[in-house]
């Protein structure tokens, strides 16, 4: 089957670069052409680094030709979410408050990915400060149906990957901002364990719940990206010193004998019937492949949702208070209201939220002593419409993702089919602290026995 260059996986492109079947310049040029054609419809990128990307691709090509290939990501373009600092390249956080901000340093993940040989293609669209609206640079729409939203906040990374405007991308996730767009757009997104990937140089929303992670079209590509992003960083005191495994090298173990927990409460309640059907079908497929399904009790998951909202709002206000006092009206209404809300919770409520976090974390960790992973839907419904998003998304939109930001456990979103109307649906796999390897193995095994990841939207039709 012929696959266009812009829809090949990063791993496949890497193999082709290695055997000189394709050059980094060809890849970057193909993506820039695609961006020129569709960015005006999809609003995937806020800033495109066209000339610099071609120059860097040429340099990568010369290095590789000279036998100095740095590894599997060398010569591959990367799209960075526009809350991640890039030295010399505007980083707006999609906010009027930061329209002209050009960082003087790279975020640690940007530096690491550059060190691995990736080429900065551009800065992807986000909801304002990863929590608000999209009032300044356009509404990123879903390439599967442009009347639908991409999910937030790593919206541009999600739709760029789905529509072939990126090969690899980064995202950040405080309540589901990697996994939500991954689910809505039919791509793969991983929220790593808290501390696995440095947050230094990523504009914070909530210090205790922010995570930075990989987004791609395949699980293998996420594994390659995570390997380059992860590791201790002296500039992020919460980053972990644990060694970084070879994630891509551990994908092929299969799922035979793995115990997968299926929550009895909360995670399958009040969800779209197609989501329920497709996630249960995915569980059935994993069982056929040798996994053992076990019902698990997670009664505190529901409590963690309001607790998480208190934590995010309070910490977001802590981050933004000084700027908000100076520039309150430069914030869009959604961001201004969500962030300012944190000024009105009491210390007692914040402490209660911290206690609920401790109880929920303990409960989940105990369950994960019995099972290797817990499987849930990523989102309760397929992509919401742009109108619903503009009016304010349902308050429970992140109810299946945010609980794992509260605890810091790793969680992977993998496409598991299409609902009526052709919108993607995804399954979420949650694992033990720092056990991204098992999640990636489960996701990869499922992906190898299904064909969802081979389907692509037709943005020219949808537009």
């Amino acid at each position: 089957m012929h696959v266009e260059l812009f829809y090949l996986s990063a791993a496949e492109l890497s193999r082709r670069i290695e055997r000189r079947a394709v050059s980094p310049v060809e890849i970057v040029t193909a993506l820039l052409d695609r961006i020129a054609r569709y960015n005006g419809t999809l609003y995937s990128y806020i800033t495109v680094c066209g000339d610099a990307a071609v120059r860097d691709a040429r340099e990568a090509e010369h290095e590789i030709a000279a036998g100095r290939r740095r590894g599997p990501l060398h010569g591959l373009p990367i799209a960075q979410k526009d809350i991640i600092f890039t030295r010399g390249v505007r980083t707006t956080c999609h906010s009027r408050a930061l329209l002209e901000f050009v960082p003087e340093f790279d975020a640690t993940v940007v530096g690491r990915l550059a060190g691995a040989g990736t080429i900065l293609l551009g800065k992807t669209n986000t909801t304002e400060f990863a929590t608000g609206g999209t009032d300044v640079f356009g509404v990123p729409v879903n390439p599967w149906d442009t009347s639908r939203f991409t999910g937030g906040s790593s919206a541009g990374s999600g739709n760029a990957l789905a529509a072939g405007l990126a090969v690899l991308a980064t995202g950040s996730d405080t309540g589901g901002s990697i996994r939500g767009p991954a689910s809505y757009c039919g791509i793969v997104g991983l929220k790593p364990t808290y501390g696995r990937v440095s947050r230094h140089g990523v504009f914070p929303l909530s210090w205790s719940m922010d995570h930075v992670g990989p987004m791609a079209r395949t699980v293998e590509d996420c594994a390659l990206l995570l390997h380059a992003m992860a590791g201790q960083d002296p500039l992020d005191p919460t980053s972990s010193a644990r060694p970084v495994p070879d994630y891509a090298g551990g994908l092929d173990g299969g799922v035979r004998g793995l115990r997968l927990g299926v929550p009895v409460q909360f995670f399958f309640e009040r969800i779209d019937p197609d989501v329920d059907r497709l996630v249960r079908a995915a569980l059935g497929r994993l069982e056929e492949l040798g996994a053992r399904l076990e019902p698990v009790d997670l009664p505190r998951a529901a409590d963690s949702y309001p607790a998480g909202r208190v934590l995010i709002a309070s910490e977001a206000f802590g981050v933004h208070a000084p700027r908000m006092r100076r520039q309150c009206r430069d914030y869009g209404p959604r961001a201004r209201r969500r962030i300012a809300a944190g000024a009105f919770f009491t210390a007692a409520e914040y402490q209660q939220a911290a206690q609920i976090r401790a109880l929920w974390c303990r409960e989940l960790s105990q369950v994960l002593e019995r099972v290797d992973a817990v499987v849930t839907p990523t989102m309760p419904t397929p992509a919401i419409t742009v109108e619903v998003q503009a009016a304010g998304p349902p308050p429970d939109i992140g109810k299946f993702t945010q609980p794992f930001n509260v605890t810091g456990h790793p969680a992977l979103s993998v496409p598991c089919g299409f609902a009526a109307g052709g919108l993607p649906v995804a399954v979420q796999v949650v694992g033990r602290m720092f056990d991204e390897q098992t999640l990636l193995r489960i996701g990869h095994t499922y992906e190898q026995h299904t064909e969802w990841h081979t389907r692509h939207p037709a943005p020219e039709v949808a537009a």
């Binding site: 600092f85 980083t91 956080c93 930061l98 901000f101 960082p103 003087e104 340093f105 230094h200 140089g201 504009f203 002296p234 500039l235 992020d236 005191p237 919460t238 409590d303 309001p306 607790a307 909202r309 208190v310 709002a313 208070a321 908000m324 006092r325 309150c328 009206r329 209404p333 201004r336 209201r337 969500r338 300012a340 809300a341 000024a343 009105f344 919770f345 009491t346 409520e349 402490q351 209660q352 939220a353 911290a354 206690q355 609920i356 976090r357 401790a358 109880l359 974390c361 308050p395």
Partner: protein, 65 residues
């Protein structure tokens, strides 16, 4: 603290130096009141043995936006 009302919220916003308008106050009030109500329904019955985890770390000097 006084009762959580729109008037209290507006006054507290002004005290904190936030230039919120009436529409902001209305939406924030609805949002915060809903979460406070949910939190009130899930107060732990006992605080024993649920001490939140704290990690103390020395922050690094970094320049921010």
């Amino acid at each position: 603290m006084t009762n959580f009302t729109r008037e209290w919220l507006a006054a507290e916003a002004a005290r904190q130096g936030l230039a919120l308008d009436d529409a902001d106050v209305e939406e924030i009030f609805e949002r915060v009141a809903a979460v406070k109500q949910e939190m009130a329904q899930i107060r732990p019955g006992s605080a024993e043995d649920i001490e939140p985890v704290y990690r103390f770390a020395v922050p690094q000097e970094t320049s921010r936006a």
